[in-house]
Structures are given as C-alpha cells and as structure tokens.
C-alpha cells in the first residue's frame, strides 16, 4: 500500500503499540493521510479521541487488499485537529462524537452538531475536560429539507417492536422517502469512561456487554487487543474454542436475521422455522459453554470453559439437524415470488458507497466489498481452515439475505473443521499485569469489531471499541432513499445495525 509505506518513515513510531504500528504524526502528515482516504487509496478503520497528558486523536486505517493496518495519532494541545470528515464523509459521525465526548474540535468539519450527547447528561465532554453541562442547551436541528408537498415522519426513540431505541426522521414525498436522518445515542452507557482505570477482568465484562448479539466477537476483539498489548498468546485450544463460539454466534444471528427479514415482509413461516434453528444453536451453546449467548466465555488469555466430553458429538448432531432443515428453508425463500417481490431491488447500497465507507459484514459483502477480518488481515486459527468469503454485488435486501445464507453454509464447514482439528492443551494463559498498547480485531456476524487498549500494570488506562455499525448506519440512510416508507422495516432489518454497539 503506497499510502502506508509513504507515511511510516515520516511518523514517530510508538514502540509499545502492537501488532500494527502506531505513528505520532504532525498536522501535515495527518492531512496527507486524510487525502489518501478521500482518494480511496486506503480505508478508514476507526477514529477516536484519547485523554493522556495532552488530548489526542487516533485514526486507524487499513489497506483492504493487503490487510495492512496502521494507527496515526495527532496531539491536540490546543483542542483542535484538522477535520477528516471535511474530505472523507465516513468520518463525520466519529468527529461529532469526539467533539461531544472530548471537546476536541475538528477544524473545517462540515457538521459539528452533537452526536451521542442528546442534552441529558450533567456533564459535557465526559471523556475530556468533564465540565458541568450548561443549564440551557440549544435544540437539536435536523438537516433542512426543501421541496413541494414533502412531509416528515418522526419515529422513535421507542419503536413499535422488541427493538433497540433510536430516532429516525423521515422526509417523504407521497409514499417515497426522499431523506432519512438518523439520530442515535439513546443507549449510550458511557462504556469507555467506565473502562478508564478498570481491571482487565472488569473491562472484559464491559466489552462483552457492548452489543449483546456480538458478545463473543467483542470478547475476542478485546482479548486480541489485550494480548497484543502485553505480548501474550492464547493457547491453541483456546483460539479454536473462540472460533467455535464465534461461528455459533454467527449461525444464531444469521438464522434470526433471515427469519426476521422475511417476517418484515409478512412471510412468517420462515420466521417460525428460522427461530427454531436459532434456538437450537443457543441450546447447544448453553450445554457446551454454560451460557446461551456465550457471554464472558472469552477472556483475555483464553476462554473460561472447555468443551464438555460429549460437546463435539452434540454439536455434530446439531449440525446434521441443521443440514436437514436449512436447505428446505433456503428453497422456500428462493421459490416464493411474493417474498422476492419485496426483497429484490429494495434498499440498494451502491458498491462505491460500500467501498468508500469501508462497510463490513454482510452489508459490505452484499455490495461487492470483499473484506472479512478472518481472512484479511486474518487471525488464528482461521488461517488453518478452508473456507470462502461469499461476495455479491446486487446490494439489495435480497443480496443481504443470500449473503447470510451463504455464510451459514461457510460457518457450518468451519465448525466441522474446528471440531476435527481441535488441539489438546490448556484453555487459558495467565495474565501477569503488563503494560502496552494493543489493537485487536474480530469478525462478528455483523462485521469487524475493532478494539484498542492502553494498559498500565494490568489496568486499562483507555479502551476504545468500534462497532461495525459506525460504517453501516450512514449507508442505511442512503439505501432507503427512493424506497417507500413501508419498506423501511425490511431495509432496516436487512442491515440489523447495532444501536448499543454504536452508542457505547
């Protein structure tokens, strides 16, 4: 990747940062990196603030093809930094969050409205100077909309279903959505602030509860970051068991999603049968790992519980059951024209947008972005397995359903390989304090989860968790444009972005 190679000699490398380089840069080099992003030569991977002796902003970038990752860091002694979003729109919400949480101002940013801070906290800039919030706060202004006969539909934060809260402001011309604007942050729990000074054990508990549906993925990403920081490797058996849990989590969520998408097109028989498959996964998880969602089963250093003696047999039987049931459901989906009528050509995400936003998971891969963190940059034990990353190009709801179907098939072959080659040995390595900085990655069912930690003598000084939804939520706004209002639930479910993972 020319961009990374060009930049590395110009920045001051931070020795304690592993496994990928972190470079302290000047404003000029920062601007060069931003222009590389804007030119599409590298992809934004994360952007977050940091309060050390002076405030910092860190920007993670990745080369999609080579899998090279780098973090560039800019000190902000004056509380300002050159805006990334000014040239590269995917950064806009990150910058708004940095402004709200740290009070660091992106110079030249196109949008400086608060993000995550909805005006209900007693403090402002809770991760920065943490000053009392002003008594009177200006009302939030949604983007202006102009045009004849347009009307607005405000939805949420409390939605009509068992769903997480968020606000959607639709502007419609007749039945057609001309603009959707999201306002998120309702489930902001202040996880990053709770991480500061926490023990690794407590921080892992918080990471596991950042987005419950991806608790295994968060566990793995956080463990990877901590293990990188203190130069520790989890034992091979632990890494296999992590992969087993990750694939079970992917299966459970994909089954749930495939059914729920069809349900939002009023085809409830798929929902009923997919819910059975999902329940079977969760029951297998409970028997094998002692928790239906496998929460807090992955810890830095390894895993908490080993597969019971009959675990492998149980999972193999369960896979045979899936093999018997799932193909018929796929056939049912494929052969129901009235269902396809709803999903085909609905909620299209253009390939250029998926590429520009670095959209991961089924959203990116249904729109031609061939990226899966298990392959690039890749992590153990996936390099030992034979599996493919399905990619489609249509970018519609139908493609996102098919992507999940294909990923279910891949997860099943992965689980078979994991069970076949599961090594013996310990399931965890002891953590022994340690200091350093680490960046960790894990491919959750929804996309790649990024975790960054700075540790000092076994304490978390700072942790940032970046949910894949950060790059996916903005694409939902684009996907719904020109669709009818009634198709929004269908589009939204096909995205299934995390509110809690995004809101932190």
């Amino acid at each position: 990747m020319p961009a990374l190679i060009d930049i590395i000699p110009q920045g001051k490398r931070v020795d304690a940062h592993r496994p990928w380089p972190r470079l302290v840069v000047t404003q000029d080099i920062w601007r060069v990196v931003v222009s590389e992003l804007a030119a599409g030569r590298t992809t934004l991977f994360g952007l977050w603030g940091d309060a050390d002796v002076v405030p910092w902003v860190h920007m993670a970038i990745i080369d999609d093809d080579a899998g090279d990752v780098a973090v560039v860091s800019l000190a902000c002694p004056d509380g300002v930094f050159p805006s990334v979003g000014a040239l590269h729109p995917p950064a806009i919400r990150f910058e708004r969050a940095i402004l709200s949480l740290y009070g660091l101002e992106p110079m030249g940013a196109p949008d400086t409205r608060p993000w995550l801070d909805l005006g209900f906290w007693d403090v402002q800039h809770p991760l920065g100077a943490r000053t009392p919030a002003p008594a009177v706060r200006p009302a939030y202004s949604f983007l202006p909309v102009e045009g004849e006969s347009l009307h607005q539909i405000p939805v949420g934060p409390v939605h009509a279903g068992i769903i997480e809260p968020g606000h959607f402001r639709f502007t419609a011309g007749g039945e057609t959505v001309v603009r959707l604007e999201e306002r998120l942050g309702y489930v902001h729990k202040g996880i990053e602030s709770l991480m500061v000074g926490a023990s690794i054990e407590r921080a892992a508990q918080l990471a596991a509860r950042t987005s419950g549906d991806s608790t295994v993925a968060y566990g793995i990403a956080f463990a990877h970051a901590v293990e990188a920081a203190i130069n520790l490797e989890a034992p091979p058996r632990a890494r296999y068991l992590r992969a087993l849990m990750a694939e079970l989590e992917r299966l459970a969520n994909h089954f749930g999603d495939i059914g729920a998408i069809c349900n939002d097109a009023s085809f409830s028989i798929m929902h009923a049968h997919c819910s059975i498959l999902r329940e079977l996964v969760l029951r297998a998880a409970e028997i094998c790992f002692g928790h239906r969602l496998m929460m807090c089963r992955v810890i830095p250093g390894g895993v908490v519980s080993d597969l019971p003696a009959d675990g492998a047999v149980l999972i193999r039987n369960f896979l045979m059951d899936i093999d018997r049931r799932f193909p018929r459901l796929v056939e049912l989906y494929d052969n129901t024209a009235s269902l396809q009528d709803r999903t085909v050509a609905t909620g299209v995400v253009r390939a250029e947008l998926a590429r520009q936003f670095g959209a991961s998971g089924y959203i990116g891969r249904a729109s031609g972005r061939n990226f899966d963190a298990r392959k690039t940059p890749g992590y153990a034990p996936y390099d030992e397995f034979d599996f493919t990353v399905p990619v489609l190009t249509a970018g519609d709801v139908n493609a996102r359903v098919w992507l999940r179907i294909r990923e279910v098939e891949q997860s099943i072959t992965l689980i078979e390989q994991i069970l076949e080659h599961l090594p013996d040995g310990p399931i965890s390595a002891a953590l022994d304090g340690g200091s350093g900085e680490g960046l960790g990655l894990a491919e959750g069912f929804r996309g790649d989860v990024l975790a960054w930690v700075r540790l000092d003598s076994g304490r978390v000084m700072r942790c940032h968790l970046r949910d894949p939804s950060w790059f996916q939520w903005p694409l939902l706004e684009a996907a719904i444009e020109g669709n009818i209002v009634a198709d929004f639930p269908l589009c939204n479910k096909s995205f299934n972005c995390s509110y809690s993972g995004h809101d932190l």
Partner: protein, 175 residues
C-alpha cells in the same frame, strides 16, 4: 412450502411444558394486584417492551419467547406495538439518561391499570453500568416497578417463570 406446512400438521409440536411460576416473583407480584384489575384483565396481558439502555442481550431472549419452544401466546401474553395497547411494560437496560424521558413518557402513555417489569440485572440497579455519567440507574428510580426478573440476560425459561407468576397472581384471589 406445502411439505413444510403438511409436516406442521403431522409432527408433534416443539412447544415445551410451561415452567412453574417463580416463587420469589409470585411473592413480589402478589401484592400488586387488586380485585378490580383482576376482573378487568382476566388471564390475558398485553406487553409493551421498552429498551431503556440494554446491550440488546435481553431483547434477544425476549424475542426467543415467541419461538415454537416457548410459544408465549399460549399463555394469553402477547407483545403489542404501542404503550396505548399495553397492560405491562417490560423494561430492559440500565436506564440511560438519554432514555429516561422516553421511558417516563411511555409509562404515562400506558393506560391504568398497568404493571412494570424490570428485566435483567441492569434493570435492577444499573448493573455494571451503574456508576456511569450517562446512566440514571435501575428502572425503579424512574417509574414504579412491580416485578424484577434477574439474569444477564435471564433465559427465556426464567422470563416465562416471572410472567407466569404475574398471571397467577392475577387469578389467585379472584372472587
């Protein structure tokens, strides 16, 4: 599809026997019902779920109540889309400060008689998030709570035990 539907008629249902009502929940909830409310509602309740800050783990298990194994609707319990149609608010999460007002407004929009169930460890007292600047705390600090169902997240069986306790308490002293 024909084969799938036909098998639905000929195969035994997957639905499992209901669990016994949770004793602790019975004790907690029995105090809350007066006779008038019991008469009005019978053995049927409409539930409105409100995520007031959860990590979405609790939502996944609430969803599971609708699958064929637990089949919530056989008990006369069903989820409704609006608080205006609800008898019960099922609230999850540590209540975030950003959701406090929305929860209060949802509560006020629910007609009397109504009950509030706080579901999950976070909903009891804020759980592991309780010391955050962004968290108001447990549900009972914002709206009156009639029943707590603990767990992180509680399993569908545990949720059912709590909900059945709610139903049992309703019919217990019916004249």
């Amino acid at each position: 599809m024909r084969r799938t539907l036909f098998e639905g008629l000929t195969h035994r249902p997957l639905t499992e026997a209901p669990p016994r009502a949770d004793d602790a929940a019975l004790g907690e909830i029995a105090r809350q019902f007066d006779r008038a409310a019991r008469r009005r509602l019978g053995r049927s309740l409409s539930i409105r779920e409100v995520d007031a800050g959860s990590c979405n783990g609790c939502e996944l298990e609430i969803h599971a109540l609708n699958n064929a194994f637990y089949d919530l609707e056989r008990f006369g319990l069903r989820f409704v889309a609006s608080p205006r149609h609800a008898d019960v608010l099922l609230v999850t999460g540590p209540v975030t400060k950003n959701m406090r007002e929305a929860l209060e407004r949802t509560y006020n929009a629910t007609p009397d008689p109504k009950w509030v169930i706080a579901l999950g460890d976070c909903a009891v007292d804020g759980g592991i998030f309780s010391s955050s600047y962004a968290v108001a705390g447990g549900v009972s600090g914002v709206v009156p709570v009639d029943l707590h169902i603990r767990g992180c997240p509680p399993t569908p069986t545990e949720i059912l035990q709590g909900l059945i306790a709610l139903l049992d308490a309703q019919v217990a002293e019916r004249p």
